[in-house]
Symmetry: C2
Subunit: 203 residues, 2 copies
């Protein structure tokens, strides 16, 4: 195991099935490699404007494959998965809630992220609209009234924009996306390579 | 190990780095799972017209990542890799030569494919133009004069078109792409999943 190092950036979009699967593997990954993950939700909408890409399920041929692979990948990892009826969705309210909470209680922010992902990808609940997102937060024991006020604050809105801009500047173009010591890894299927990279110091 | 079954379709584009890496792992994969692979070169150009996608290296952000990941993936698998100066290239002559040979001697066709892949991705030789492709074939001990005549035959040209159409009809949108008993697997990084799928009979 490598010596304790800087946190590994773990970028994800709340509307990303592979991001969800990665989120379910993240805590075990931290334990195995002895490196903390820094959870950083992003918005693929503005990122796809930069790359000219479209949501996976909208791409001919690739769309059908992807829907099959979302469920198959989840089953392989023992993660509950039910493709949401409304997909993809906008997740800016979730991102704002996450970062506001992150600055106050990083554990609570991670709990919120997990609750939102489960609601969307296991329970088919639309977490896009703020009231639905806040309902899930409330069920997770978080202060929904405080979050409701927070996500309307200009500084919080700006924070999400700045996080997305930073991700783009770091080369992030998909979800999940990991950066460890400057080395980028895209996709839940890159976790084994990431792990081998960290353990060996790269190759 | 599963009982002998129908061959696994192994689709690849001669200009695809991940297809090249997969080709270097293909023989060992056959041995491990006890199932034959049927090598089927395709052309991503017409396929990308259907899906609206672009060559990886042309996509902003994703392009830089991909070039890094081609080399990193090759190193991880112990496969020699040198990103070609001229990339991507058109590979229709190579496909025609492959299928003409395939109908006569499947082993020779596989040998040609390996020689072309090594020339392009290990030795930085442009295999796009027919004379260069034929030169590599000749060095691999194949009858370059017969191949030169074959790739001009209308039936051989039609054969490649029909192979690409069949691939599209089967849902193939990238390289490498495997289909085993109707189940599709895209990417060299899906080989472990494919292997687990074959061994377990699916999940």
């Amino acid at each position: 195991m490598s010596a304790p190092g800087a946190p590994i950036d773990f970028y994800f979009e709340f509307s990303s099935p592979y991001g969800y699967v990665a989120s379910r593997l993240a805590d075990d990954l931290e334990q195995r490699i002895g490196r903390a993950l820094r959870w950083r939700p992003i918005l693929l909408g503005p990122i796809f404007k930069v790359t000219g890409q479209a949501p996976l399920t909208n791409v001919p041929l690739k769309g059908d494959y992807s829907k099959r692979d979302f469920a198959r990948s989840a089953r392989m990892h023992g993660v509950p998965y039910r493709h949401p009826d409304n997909f993809p969705i906008g997740t800016v309210a979730a991102c704002r809630a996450f970062y506001w909470l992150e600055d106050r209680d990083a554990c609570a922010a991670r709990r919120l992220a997990k609750a939102l992902y489960s609601a969307y990808f296991a329970d088919n609940r639309d977490i896009g609209a703020a009231p639905h997102m806040l309902q899930v937060a409330s069920e997770a024991g978080l202060d929904a009234a405080a979050l409701a006020a927070a996500i309307e604050q200009p500084a919080v809105k700006e924070r999400v924009k700045s996080e997305v801009d930073s991700a783009i500047a770091a080369g992030v173009f998909g979800s999940p996306f990991f950066i460890v010591d400057g080395e980028p890894f895209w996709g839940v299927d890159r976790i084994p390579m990431l792990e081998a990279w960290v353990r060996s110091g790269g190759w």
